[in-house]
């Protein structure tokens, strides 16, 4: 019970900080919309080509919006050494990771909704027929990506070129998430029977669990000098 209170305290703290400065969410949404906007002008695809391009476009947009999210999330902690303030509290460091991860998940989820809306608008594409499976695929992929991004965000926060180091460090590790996400999303948006892409969805779920557990266990080493 105490663990849940700690996670909730960190989650609420992150929401409160974001509400006060509104830097993270705004930049993520604007960036995502810009990517979609540029792709729309670059390709102007028909329906068939959209089905080929949109899954990749979506996950590229999610990936870069995520980088902004994770960088910003730990920029707040780096300022005034706030992460150190949490590190000297008598809490399991993994709980700090979970609290930060939940906040990042919410922010990235909101940005993804905005990006999907922008895609639907500019590409004249409707997600409604496959909404349930698309939502599940996006959720599972995002959970796995946010787990990786949160721990690497904490690692990169201590480096000199943190804005560059974060994508350099995390993208290679997150590749399985993107591959599974893109493959599953392609199947869902094409309207293929779920059995044809269920394997990818299961892979997303396994990756998410593995990344969460590993990040939870390793986070204490990230916090310490």
């Amino acid at each position: 019970m105490q663990s849940l209170k700690i996670i909730a305290a960190i989650f609420v703290k992150d929401l409160r900080v974001e509400w006060r400065n509104r830097e993270t969410l705004a930049s993520m949404c604007v960036f995502g919309i810009l990517v979609v906007f540029l792709f729309n002008f670059a390709f102007e695809p028909g329906r068939e080509e959209s089905l080929r391009l949109l899954p990749s476009l979506l996950w590229i947009s999610f990936a870069f919006a995520g980088v902004l999210c994770f960088n910003r999330s730990f920029a707040v902690e780096r300022e005034n050494a706030c992460l150190e303030g949490m590190a000297v509290a008598p809490v399991d460091p993994g709980l700090i990771f979970l609290g930060k991860m939940l906040a990042n998940l919410l922010f990235l989820g909101i940005a993804e909704c905005v990006i999907v809306f922008a895609v639907a608008l500019w590409f004249n594409f409707t997600f409604l027929p496959s909404l349930k499976w698309f939502a599940l695929i996006t959720f599972l992929g995002t959970v796995g990506y946010v787990a990786v991004g949160t721990i690497f965000g904490a690692i990169a926060a201590n480096t000199h070129m943190r804005e560059v180091m974060l994508p350099v460090l995390q993208f290679p590790v997150a590749v399985p998430v993107f591959i599974a996400g893109i493959e599953a999303t392609t199947g869902a948006l094409k309207g293929d029977p779920p059995s044809s892409y269920l394997g990818w969805v299961r892979l997303e779920a396994v990756i998410a669990v593995v990344f969460i557990v590993l990040s939870y266990l390793l986070f204490e080493y990230v916090l310490e000098e």
């Binding site: 105490q2 305290a9 703290k13 900080v17 006060r20 005034n80 008598p90």
Partner: protein, 249 residues
Amino acid sequence: MPPDTPPPDRAGLELRNVSKYFGDLAALSGAQLRVRLGDAILLYGPNGAGKTTLLRLLATVARPSEGEVLFDGEDVHRHATAARAAIGYVSHPTSLYGDLTVRENLKFFGRMFALPSLGMKIAATLELFRLSDRAGTPVRKLSRGLQQRVSLARAFLHEPQFLLLDEPFTGLDAANVETLESLLCQLPAQGKAVIFSTHDFERGAALARRLVALEAGKIRYDGPLALIPRNLLPVTVERSRQKAEGSKQ
């Protein structure tokens, strides 16, 4: 003696032959230090002597490259929860969220320490540090001195047994220096330990019973203030002493 109380010879914070390296730089080398409840220790030394590193190791923020940091005889990193509940740490950065108010910061850290009756504790701490009228102000809008007071309030909130303070007087005006001095004086009598670093030797000497002098990452002296070798005294203090002796003659 209750079963969970460590024997007197094991109680406290201890550095046992601790070294800390940053690449090739030995920030701390072979440090042996024992901090018991009731101690009031002044950590003194020139810039780069290793004072901050020593405090960070005791506060469990950093791991030693060699040696052990012990809390009540046990490795502090294996029993981190118990150790951290007993330690209050103030470093150069304030560890405060600039976009949150003073009260929100204290509430957050109070929750991290799972403090009961948190509202009452926060009110009492705000009163102690004369911050009640600033409770609703975002920390970012406070002066450096006020932020330092909030940082001290954060460290005092959970009434730690060991208070580790790195340059705690930085940015404080005279009235608040007096408040902090008064608080620090009371702690040993309350059975708590305080270890602090300051560049103001005379102020620190007035508060401490024991001096740990560092130089180039090594502890050169650990003992009563009155017995410190002259060559380890700061130049200004030595000059004052010589001047006083000269005027007596």
